[in-house]
Subunit: 165 residues, 2 copies
DNA sequence: ATTGAAATGAATTCTTC
DNA sequence: GAAGAATTCATTTCAAT
């Protein structure tokens, strides 16, 4: 289940189109790709079954939800032992401010992506949910000026590197 | 368009359900929320029109696409001037390895989330797309052990903090 | 494995409240 | 604004290839 899956040109074409607009209909996909709608359904079902497609997620606008300030928190959890990091992860995931959480190599153990109302809200979050905890040795806060989602995720093409110059 | 939008209990209920499963039908939403399907359609259309819902995105499994190694790159771009950072951002966004890009406050100017095949592929990416560029003063690479998406994004509730303890 | 047609079920429109 | 019926359109199944 962690292994790479055989994808042909039709699968890749469908994935590229769906990454552009995840709400494309099978008829639209079929017309673009040049196969029957029922074939598209088969292919997409297989991509779901084999775990290539994990799901469909709503992309929301945090600013419109009163969470116009986003930040990344670099967090050191000490001692870095399973008994402490398990509960830490669960607690952070359950915070309404958390958007994503990463366990990393390097001097900081975790990176937390948060969305808050304003600087006062961020201060409250850092103090109440992080620095006040005994297992949190250090928090470094970095505001997000701007963020971008990048192009479609596709398998590496062996021959074609240095392409984005 | 950057301002917060008035959302009633029905809107919030719909948003919560859609964040759970973005492919819920209007009939399913209607049954859960206790309104008519056509009302759900109205509400969702309005949430799209007012920019609360930005879109629907496919959630893919990078490992299944031969990109089983993910990392965060902390990048300093010097001098940090518009003439350099504009092209830098566009170049990084266009890399097939890039998943997300953040412009940050703090000692590192950018954070790049990348997905690659293996450590050799990561080394090639760092050397060819980052450290070899004159405007890139420094790159710090942190591997991602594990990552989590967090709970639904909802407006802050004034009264209810310290809830995730 | 893919198709095209048929059947099922959902999205969308429209009239009424 | 919300609902419910009616229409349009998409999904899904299936027999045939």
């Amino acid at each position: 289940m962690a292994d790479s899956v055989e994808l042909d040109a039709v699968d890749l074409h469908i994935l590229r189109l769906l990454q552009n607009d995840a709400r494309s209909t099978y008829r639209e996909l079929a017309a673009e790709v040049g196969v029957a709608p029922s074939t598209c359904l088969d292919r997409v079902s297989r991509l779901r079954r084999t775990g290539v497609i994990l799901g469909h997620r709503l992309q929301l606008n945090p600013a419109k939800l009163g969470r116009g300030l986003e930040a990344l928190l670099l967090v050191q959890v000490r001692p870095h032992r399973r008994e402490l990091i398990g509960p830490f992860v669960e607690r952070v995931r359950a915070l309404p401010e958390s958007r994503a959480l990463f366990h990393l190599t390097g001097p900081d153990d975790y990176l937390v992506h948060v969305a808050v109302a304003d600087p006062a809200d961020l201060q409250r979050l850092v103090l109440d949910a992080f620095t006040s905890r005994r297992e949190v040795a250090r928090v470094e806060t970095r505001l997000i000026f701007q963020q971008w989602e990048c192009g479609p995720l596709l398998p590496p093409v062996p021959g074609a590197h240095l392409s984005a110059d």
